[in-house]
Each structure stands twice: as C-alpha cells, then as structure tokens.
Symmetry: C2
Subunit: 736 residues, 2 copies
C-alpha cells in the first residue's frame, strides 16, 4: 500500500510559524494542494545540494556552486549550465539541480537526459564518456564503476555495456512473465528489479511469473469503444506470483539462476550484494510471512549456502524491509535493520564470526536464531527512520531516528562494534533528512519543525558542529494561517500514548462552537503527526480551518515509527483497535469547549477510507458526515503481500475477515457518507467500493458516490484540486 | 431503446378520480412504485379474461368462468384449478390466469409449466397431449396446429416435434454466432428469432453473426475476483451484425437459407409467413435506414422474388415496425402498417394485383413505389396504436388508435376494401386495449381515463354495444391524492400542439409558491402524457406532490403517436428541438402563480437522462437541480440500429454528433446534477456517464454520481424503491 502515503505527504517536511494574524490573505485550494496551480509559489524556499567527494555543492538552475563550510555561503562557481551545453554542442541541460558527481577524485559530472547518459570533465570541458539510452528503455540502472547500463524493454532485460555493446538477457517476457521489474507489489522494501554488483560487473535481476493471477477487469473509457487492459491482481488467499532471481555476468555473458529450494510463492527480498560481487544475500520469507531466513548465494554458480546467516520468526509476522549495508572498512561485516527487538534498530552482522544457532525469544515477541554473530548497535525505545551511511574515518553508522521524541527524526551516529556508543549530530528538534559526503565525515541536513519553516545546515560529523546554509522565510506571512498544535492522549488500552494534531479555525473565537472533521489514515507504514512544519499538516486542513472547521488528526495504534507491538495491535482484525483509539480522540475532542460534538465529520483515504467507512457504520451516532476515498471494504479483495501479512489468508482467519468486512456493516449507515474512488484504482480495486454500494442498496441505506475515470489510487494535478473541492463541498453541504 | 419505456410505464393504463381530499393517508414509495412491497395492494382491480372460440371467459386463480354477455356476470364454472391438478395427478397448476384455449372447437386448455406443455380436455378430464420442455430451453415457441416446439439451447436452435423427436438445427452457435434469438437489438419491431409457419410445419429463424462487434467491458463484481462477461455492443458507425434467415422444414428436416442479395449488415425485419406457409415475406432495410423493400422468398428453395412487393424511401428514415397481417378470408391480401403518409395507418396490400411501379411522393415526406396494389384503409390525422385483428364476418380490421384525440386510444373498425369506412366501437374516452374472439365478432375491452379508474367491457363488434364486466373502485379512496390535470401549449415552432400533465402538491394552497420538477423523456417511441388514469402519471410524481412539489411533464416533438414529421423534428441533431419545446413548457410553468420559478428541477431516464443533463448544461440558469438516469451523453457511444436511424453514422453527420454531445457542455454545469446509472447497463453503456464525469472533472464542474452494481438500464424491485428514495432526497437536499 505504498502509494497511500502520497496524499498524506502532499506538504512535505517544512516549517513555518502558524500564529494567527488578522486581516490577511486567504488561501485557495490551488495554493494549498501540490496539484494546485499556485502551490509552488507558496512553498518554503528549498536548496538543492550535492557532494563531490568531500566538497559540498549547491545546485541551481544556472550553475553549480561550491559552498564554504565556515560561512555557509557559495564561494565560487564550479561550472554553469551554459558551459555544459557548450561542451555538448547543443542545449541538452536545462538545469543543474539534478546533476550527479559519481567520482570523488575526478572532475567529472554525470548528465542524464532522456536519450543519453554523458560524463563531462567540467575542468577540461570535454566529454569523457557517453552512452545512448535505448528507445523504450525503463527501469534503467547505470553503474558508475563499470559504466554498464541495465534496463528493460517491456518485460525483458537488456544490458548495454560501457562500450555500447547490447546484450538481451531474456526473451520470453510478456504480461505474464516479467523480468527486471519490481516484484511482490513493492512490499518488503522492494522497489526495483535490477541490481548491479558494486563493481558493476554482475547484474542480479528478478523474474516474476504472474500467469496464474487473474487480471482485474480495469476499463479504459477513453478508447473509441471502452476496453479492458491487463492488471494482474493477486487477491488474499488466491493465486500469487512466482518470484525467482538470476545473475548475469558481463564478462562471460552467462545467466545463472539462484538455486532456491523454497516454494516460488515465497518472498525473496532486499537483495544485497557482497562488496566483492561474488555473493548475493537474499532475505527469504515464507508466504505466511512469519519465518524469515537470510541466505547467501554464490553469484557465479547460483548455489545456495547450506546454512542461513540468521533467522527470525514471529507468531504475527516478520517484515524485512531493508538491504544489508556492508561496512566500507570490513567486507565481512554489514549493518542490518530489524524489529526483532520491537523497535527498528541497527544490528552488526559479522559473517565470518559463526556462532552455534539457537532459537531465542526476542523483545519484539518473536524469536531469532543467529548463525553468525549479530550485535545490536542502537539502544532504547526508538526507531531508526532511515539509515544515512557511514563515517569511514570514525567508523560510525549515521541515521535519522525518533530518539528523543516519538514525533521527531533527529540525526545520530553510533559506533560500529561490540560496545557501541551513540551521539546526536543534529539539533534536537523537528524532522531531519541528510546527505553524506563521500567518506561520511560531513553532511548536509535539511529539516523543519513546528517553529522552523525549513533550515539547511552543514554539519561536520566528527564535531557535530557546522553552519547554516539556508533559513527559509515563512512563505505564508501575508496569509491568515490557523493555529496548529499537538499533544497526546491515552489509547483505548489505557497505557499507550497517542499523538494528535489539532487545527483551530482561522479567526478563532473561543466562545463559538465549531464543527470538527477528523482526518484519519490509521494503517501500518504511515503516520500523520510528526514534529515537522505545522506538525505535518495537509494543505486541505488549512483550507478547512479557513472555512471554520476544527481539524483533528490522531495516529492510532497500528501506525508508523512506534515499534512492532504498537503496529501489530490490529493483527488479524483490522479496524477494531484503530477505531477504539480514534474514538478516544473523538472523546477528547468533545471535551474541547469550542467543538460542537453534534457536528463531527470524518475523512480518510485508502486505509483511511476503510477507517472512515468503518467509523461511519460502527459509530453511526458519533459522526454525521464522512468522506471515504479509495477504501478497502473487505480485505479478501486486497492483495496477497500486504493483506496476508496482517490478516493471514481468508481460510486461516475467516472470523477476522468477516468481522472486518464493511459489507456486513452497510446496514448501519445513518449519516451522510460519500465514497470516492479512482475508476482505475489498481491498489484498492473498485470491487471494494462497488460491493459496499451494492450492500448498502440491499440494506436500504444511502451512501453517496463519486469516481475519477482514468485515475488510480490517488488523484494528482487538477484532479486533486477537483477532488478536494468536492470533499469540502460535502462537509459544507451536510456538516455546516 | 425498448427498455426505456419500462419506467415510464410503471403505472399502466388505469383510472381513478384524483380529487384532493383532506386528512387522508399518505403514500410511501413502496405503495407507489411497481417494485414496492405494497404496490399491488393499492392497484385498481383487474380482470383476467380470455376467449375460447366465441365464448368469453374470466380467468381467476381458482377457476375459469364463462361470462354472460348480457348481464356481464360469470354464469358458470368451466373448470377449476383443482380439477386440472386432479387430471395431472399432481399440483402443477397454481392459477388459471395464464391458461390458453388454442382450439375454438375443442374442449381443450393449454397448460404451460417450466418443464412441460400439456393439453387437457377439460370436459373429458383427460390429458390430450403433453410435450416435455428440454432443460435449458429458451425462446420457446409452440405451434398449436402442429404441436411442434422450437427453442434455443444457448445459441443453437432445436425443434421438438409433436411426437417428441428432437432435431438440432444448428451446431456452431456461440457468443459470436447466435441462432434463433432476436436480432438488430430488438429494433424494427423485432422481439424474437423463431417463427413458425401458420400450420407449424416450417420454422423460419434468424442467424446473427456478431463476431466483428467488440464486447463492451461489462464487469461482474459478484465474482470472487471481479470479471468481465460478453456483451456485444455495436456502436454507431462501427462494425455491426450480419443477419440472415433460414427455413427448416419439419417434413424433410432440410434447412434452406434465404438467398438474400444484399449486404448482411442490412436489416431483415418483420418476417411474415404467407398463410400457406410456402412464402416468407421480409421487410428489407439498408443500413442507412432510408430505403425499405418488401420482398417475398420461396420458403422451400430460399429463392428471392425478382421484384419487391413495394418500396419506401425517405430522406430522413423509414422504419418498418409491423408484420403483414393476411386477411383470414383471402390469402392473397394482407394488412400492412406504414407511416408513408406521415401517420401510422393501415394499408391493404393485394399481392396478386400487380401494378406498374413508379416512385411517387408520399405525405410523410418520402416516396413510395408499389409493385402491387396498395390501398390506404384508415383516413385522417391519427395513428394506429395497435392492430387488434379482423372481424371475419364483417370483413373489418379492428384497431386501437388516437382517432378522436391525440392523447386517447379508442377502438375502431375499418372495412377492408378499396372504399373503406371506419366506425368507432368503444366509448370515446381514455386509452383502451382489447382481445378479440376467434372470429372477431366480439371483444373484451379494458380501459381507463382521467375519470375512469379501470373498466372492462364486453363489446359486440357488429353493434358496438355490450355490457360492463368490471368497474374498478378507486383503490386510493382513503389516501390524500394530488390534483392531476392536462392541457396543451404551442411548441417552439409556434404551430404544433404539445400536451402536458401537471400535478399540484397535495394540500395545495394557491397562495403559496412551490418548487417544481419537470419529468422528461423526450425521445422517439415513447410518450408520457395520455388520457388514461391520472393522465398516465408515474407513482413517484404522486410521492413528490405529497412532499410539496409541482410536477410537470410535457411530450415534446420527437415523441410518440403524433406522426412522422412530429417525430422527425430532431433528426440529425438530437436534443435541440426537444429542449426548445421543454423550455416552452418551463415558460408556461413559470406563468403559474403557485410555481416558484427560482426552484425548478428536472429529472429523466435514458433519453430523458440525456435531456436532463442537456437541459442542466444548456440552460444552466433555468434549472437549479437535476437527476439524470442512465443517460446518453454522446450518440457515438449509442448503438447502430437506433442511433444511426436518427443521427446517421458519425462520419456522415460529424456536426450533429459534435453539437449533440454533452461532453462539450460539461463545462457549463452550474446547478446540482446527479447522474445515476446501472453499473451493468447494456443499453446506455457506462462509457456515456463516465465520459461525462471525466469531462466535468477536466472542466472543473461538479456533478454528483451514483451507480447500481449489477443493474442494467433500469432498476426493479427494491432497487427501484432505493433509487427513488435517492432521487427524492436529492431534490429535498437542494431544491427545497
């Protein structure tokens, strides 16, 4: 359910002070939504940066500048866009913001245009290398060491070597047999299907056989006569994909298949090359998703190691999401991320340090069996949000984690060894992201917080000191912005803290009673409240506040970055615990004197559409109006990889599927509920919404409905603006 | 567009006095809609009748009674249901209301149950004949003379002879090649595909080759994983059906194909057997539908006559809708219905009386060329609504026609000869239907009018006198019924009279201003106003009147029973003239002191959905709220047979298709418009509505939408009630 996050992330981590100011401008939806025509005019200033070895660069449309790490200013121009085009002999480069500097020691910049990849020596002003991109190529992956290119044409894999020689690796690709693309519906951290070895001499690639999976009948109404197109969709408990992995050797042109001995419907995830390119590690997970083994394969012969590196089991589920990251200074060791101890932590895996395996209980509720030494590096009740890389000098691993507060994401370093020590690199505020210099001794940090619109900072990772590169002004200074605050309440279990964002109406009058709308997502792998600009607000919420609504957003149990147990609360009965938490939120909301408890609305998309519909039908006297987008209605219509992780297969969990199905709750609908879906939604297929509509008709209840022909799981561009006009109108019609 | 009529005809010709009475019961939608649970409790009493030769019978659940033609009373019991079951030895017959008496001179009744056809001698109390019905048989046609049965299994034709022998006539039937079913999408008066010769010894049957026609992607969401099913849909200007006709001879078991020399995409309609079963007449129409020839074929050899019987051309279109009716007393002559002289009249065709053919202009605007003598029988500016049969004694043809008033349908007889004289048989009031005795000297007439709830009358067709068999009481006597009136205004052409129905709110107060809703259909082959009970009101209108709405219904130019020129006004530019007339109606409505001209709504289905959407977008300042059902949005998505008749092919009439397309008007939408469609609509396929929704999204306008998964072009049963609850709510939400 990866694409679900997009709407929630319309406004990315940015900062502004949201204090209300009278007699100011008002926003349109076009100002507030990423698809809006004026959205980018009102976004905080951004800075494009990159590292060339140890030199920090600012990338602008017109030129690349070298940043001075003491003053934070751009002190000189490395080269200009015009100079690049002059070398190329034509205007191929329009902006320097996407350029890459693949070689720390060479004065070379990589230019990628639709038809070509070109390496230019910006000092000598000459072309070092160029490689044409074959027409129709997709999934392109270029390796800087070998300059080999791998890509797909349709469902087949091709390699174009540095000298231009093209090799077709597969020949029988079609709608059923797909090579070189992502598999397992992008779950388990998988997002692509071509993997170069570090030296770029070997290419691992996926094969997906989806011939047994029916095509969901998606209809293209723009044809002269409407027609279906292929959309293979494996539904929970039904036929699934067969996945296998091959390795191509550019030296011998041989293709060997990894000799996996497990069912092909098992998952092969997070392919990780050993630094020498001779071994490929695969996280292997059974279809039940409760038993994971990390196995090494010989990349030359395809032979599988006799013993796994390590194993994890969990009575609920195990979910490997990250590749191994080998230590730059020791090829026999790697960093692994795992939630075996409940929180997502970094572990040091020492491949050469074999231990006698035994199954031991882990803090996350499962058990593990290590066949080599595995040492946990990060301590405490927090989650690694993202691994940034290594400081090769200090031999530390750098990461962003919610170490100091669940809503934050700060930058930390931990020493890699058996007695790790951790230290904070960034300010203890907000949500950070960073790019590291080549050896990791320096980084550029971009962050925002409730009090910081956006800042870009240079940090020396040894001293944790640096300088400011950019402090963005509040782009909304002339606008009437609502007050946004955050806090926590207890979950329905009486123990767990849940965090909320609350937005008060513009021109707030504490003596008035306002209608309130709860925005909800509620599912795993996403969160809606964090300590970034405006507590991670969505643009539409500002619009609603402007129209006089209170907006309330609460991350219930099941949501992201709060550990495995928190996430697993809804296991096998999606909806129940999440709704209980949301009702705790509503009860808190009702205690606020300015909230009119008789005018409560709810809105959410995808999992949030499931939650919205569920809340409207399960608590018909609480919510008067709801708008549910692209909802899951019955988990049997959702896909194998995500669905079976949390709900098992329908035959294994008939009660859970039945009790979480909204088809049986259609009869309870009382308030006004509009369901909106992309007519061509490939994620929550239209069968969900249409089955619910049918159930309501049969039960004599009256939901409202809308669809966006041609759109998928989310709406973008002008459709996004149209959609939110529509959502807003519904609350205006029935909640005001 | 046959199925369009169903909603308009929810309440069939019945009568009641609609005078308003205070302090009475109120209707629910279940009381007023045919799909409602209590509908039949509130319908006027009905009488099931039949003729056994010259004996009039009343059929009840429990028995068959002989009616006395002097007193109008049932004087004796012919037999009872119990007696039939006793003969059959099991309880096969549940009611006598569907029994048939195929032999005038024999004491035999025909019982048809799902598995069998049985002839019982009700006097001797014995079974005369029985024939099993093969499992899976559809399209069953039984011939009383031969007792042969013809039917289809799937797409193939079978004959079961009287002795039980089964013969399979075709073997290659499938989704593409279909034998024995109706062709040409039920246009041109075609409703079946199997045709016994009068003596039941020869069977003519259709073959339809639709292999070139794409299947519209209809989706069945009730499957475990939604799946498409075959729905061959020929869109205007695109590939169409190939139609041919074969004759099977039960004596020789030979099948011969009619040797048609025209393109197979031409139409072969209204197959008419000559009385001797040796010749089959076919009305042949080119795909352009502007040139019709009536041809005879030798039923033994399949040879086509060299000369046509007669020909009709029209610069707009010719539309043969009726079979020939041969005179019982002269096998060489037949009655034909035609609108060659503008009005639908009866013509005597004398096959043996050859004349020299020449093309002559006809009153309908086209031209005709007769190769045999053709004499018009009925005089005047009226239309034959239905041909009833012949009085064999007086040698008259009997029919229902709107002879005395456009809104009426009265029963008349006309002598069949070169100097015809016509006389009226029924009272000059209301809308009648009738069944004739075997020789046509008697009939039973059922009618209603604005002042008659329902009457059933016996009429001696010679004297035009008879007696009353039933006068139904007003079933709504205890209910608060609104006042319903009718009148006429001038069309936009300033000349033509257009008739309307107007319903005032229950508890009408002349000093108040009421919101008004226009109900509209507007297309050919249907009418909404006639002089039957309540001026042909629809139940929902009564419900709306109860809620305080004025309802206004006007039959614009283009609608039924007003002659060819009236119908052809919209030719090649559907929508324009029809809307002009509706706006004349609105202007009249606005002159009424009790109508609030600022609160006007509009509702219609199918062609009426096209009209509603069109009116909302073409006259955005007139209508505030509209509900359009199963609309045509662009005629290029409508089917070949109906669509090309009125609009020609898109390549022939690009301007007409463009200007009538609502896709270009989506941008004008201003008021609230809800479009509702059957998710599996096979008539106005969903591409219409979905394309409009897409056009609105692109244009930034905001229609509302609903769909009924699993339903086709119309909703029945509880879905019909749900639908009208929905339609009503929309007007209550936005028009009140």
């Amino acid at each position: 359910m990866k694409r679900i996050l997009i709407l929630a992330a319309i406004v990315m981590a940015t900062t502004t002070t949201m204090a209300q100011t009278p007699a100011k401008k008002h926003f349109t939806l076009n100002d507030l939504l990423s698809g809006g025509s004026t959205f980018w005019n009102l976004q905080p200033q951004y800075m494009f940066t990159a590292w060339w070895g140890e030199t920090p660069l600012e990338l602008t449309v017109d030129e690349v500048r070298i940043l001075d790490v003491y003053s934070g200013k751009a002190v000189s121009t490395l080269f200009t866009t015009e100079e690049l085009n002059s070398v190329l002999g034509e205007k191929m480069v329009r902006s320097c913001t996407n350029l890459q500097f693949p070689y720390a020691e060479e004065t070379v910049v990589k230019v990628q245009v639709p038809k070509e990849i070109i390496l230019i020596d910006f000092k000598k002003k000459s072309i070092v290398w160029r490689g044409a991109i074959q027409e129709g190529a997709s999934e392109l992956v270029w390796n800087a060491q070998s300059k080999n290119m791998a890509y797909c044409i349709g469902s087949d894999v091709f390699v174009q070597k540095a000298d231009g020689t093209r090799v077709r690796l597969t020949h029988d690709g079609n709608d059923d047999i797909v090579y070189g693309h992502s598999v397992s519906r992008d779950e388990f951290g998988i997002s692509n299907g071509l993997f170069w070895s570090p030296d770029g001499q070997r290419l691992a690639f996926y094969k997906k056989d989806q011939s047994r999976i029916p095509s969901y009948p998606q209809v293209d109404i723009t044809q002269r006569i409407a027609a279906t197109y292929v959309d293979k969709y494996p539904m929970a408990g039904e036929e699934s994909e067969d996945v296998s992995v091959a390795v191509y050797d550019t030296k011998t042109d041989a293709v060997v298949w990894l000799k996996n001995d497990k069912p092909l419907t098992d998952y092969m995830t997070n392919l990780s090359w050993a630094p020498d390119g001779k071994k490929l590690y695969v996280f292997e997970l059974n279809r039940d998703q409760d038993f994971m083994q990390l196995f090494g394969y010989n990349a030359v012969t395809g032979e599988k190691d006799k013993e796994p590196v390590l194993e994890e089991k969990h009575p609920k589920y195990v979910e490997p999401l990250h590749t191994l990251e080998f230590l730059p200074w020791d090829d026999s060791k790697a960093i692994m991320q795992s939630r075996r101890d409940n929180w997502n932590h970094l572990y040091l895996v020492e491949f050469k340090n074999e231990v006698y395996p035994e199954w031991l209980s882990a803090e996350g509720g499962g058990s593990t069996s290590n066949h080599v030494s595995v040492t946990r590096l990060t301590p405490g009740n927090f989650e690694i949000r993202s691994f940034l890389g290594f400081n090769k000098k200090s031999r530390e691993a750098l990461f962003v984690g919610n170490v100091t507060h669940p809503l934050r994401g700060t930058i930390h370093a931990v020493t890699v060894g058996h007695h790790p020590t951790m230290r904070r690199l960034s300010v203890d505020d907000g949500v950070h992201s960073a790019i590291l210099s080549d050896n990791g001794s320096q980084l550029i940090d971009t962050y925002s917080s409730p009090s910081v619109t956006r800042k870009v900072e240079y940090i020396d990772t040894k001293s944790a000191k640096g300088c400011n590169l950019l402090t963005a002004d509040d782009p909304w200074a002339e606008y009437a912005v609502p007050e946004i605050c955050s806090g926590s309440i207890k979950a329905a279990d009486g123990v767990t803290d849940l965090y909320y964002r609350l937005i008060k109406p513009v021109d707030f009058d504490a003596s008035k009673k306002y209608p309130a709308v709860v925005y909800v997502y509620g599912g795993p792998h996403a969160h809606n409240v964090q300590a970034s600009r405006g507590y991670y607000f969505r643009g539409w919420e500002i619009y609603m506040a402007q129209l006089g609504y209170v907006i309330f957003v609460l991350d219930n149990r099941g949501s992201q970055y709060r550990g495995l147990k928190f996430e697993q609360a809804p296991f096998r009965h999606f909806g129940d615990e999440e709704m209980k938490d949301q009702i705790c939120g509503v009860n808190f909301l009702k205690t606020l004197p300015f909230v009119d408890g008789d005018r409560l609305g709810v809105h959410g998309w995808s999992y949030g559409g499931f939650m919205t519909t569920n809340l409207m039908c399960s608590y018909p006297d609480v919510f008067k109006v709801g708008v549910a987008g692209g909802p899951v209605i019955d988990w049997k219509y959702y896909e194998v990889m995500y669905g079976e992780r949390y709900m098992d297969r329908p035959e294994q969990n008939p009660e859970g599927y039945a009790s979480s199905s909204l088809l049986h709750k259609a009869k309870n609908l009382k308030g006004r509920l509009q369901i909106i879906y992309g007519y061509n939604d490939p994620t929550c297929v239209p069968q969900h919404t249409l089955s619910f509509i049918r159930a309501c008709i049969d039960a004599g209840t009256q939901p409202d409905l809308f669809t966006y022909p041609g759109d998928g799981h989310n709406m973008f561009g002008t459709d996004q603006v149209h959609l939110h006009e529509r959502i807003t109108r519904y609350f205006e019609d029935y909640l005001k």
